[in-house]
Symmetry: C2
Subunit: 131 residues, 2 copies
Amino acid sequence: MCDPDFDKGGGLLPAIAQDWQSGEVLMFAYMSPESWRETLRTGCAVYYSRSRRKLWKKGEESGHTQIVREILLDCDRDTVLLKVEQVGGAACHTGHRSCFFTRVEAGGTIREIADRVFDPDQIYRDRGERS
Amino acid sequence: MCDPDFDKGGGLLPAIAQDWQSGEVLMFAYMSPESWRETLRTGCAVYYSRSRRKLWKKGEESGHTQIVREILLDCDRDTVLLKVEQVGGAACHTGHRSCFFTRVEAGGTIREIADRVFDPDQIYRDRGERS
């Protein structure tokens, strides 16, 4: 059995979600031991929300779940990479496909680089899955 | 000017390095504010080694530096994605191209999926860039 190292992250495992086909990095979150077990058991990405201090089944409110196609651990087994099929086309609560839509340009200025896939106000209706 | 949020990570910014051409996720590390400034200033990836508690210019010992081609922040500006050109072909100190060479398979068993690009013993000669 695989045994990720949760200790280095203070009990939480850093988790990167990547589109299983395009390779686009979609988001970064954390997993608790329970998240890890639930991800393995259900085949869908389950994180841990640090702000809400509870298990966070990705897409539970929005319907934008992540079907896990591959799970990889790094050389120290203290970081996980999930290759996922993003249901609904957008991983980010802002409606962008990826959370990484802010480019840092020369001199440190920033620019948004992607269009929204959906309008978050229509999806969430103030139900609160934002973190 | 861009201002990443170092506070949520206890003063360190989670950083994902991705091959700028293939999209392969190469490694995960952390950046201190000094790492961030040095990365912007030099155009090469500079992390912070938590185990050695010091600035870590990637490839300083091995020669396997990372030339930064694009810098992206996530929606909360508390995680950075570096799209890099990996000099020497391998990001991992084990000699693998990516640190994520361990696949978790059905039932939680693991399997290594990639061949080594180099023999780490020949590269590092016990000089210690391992984390």
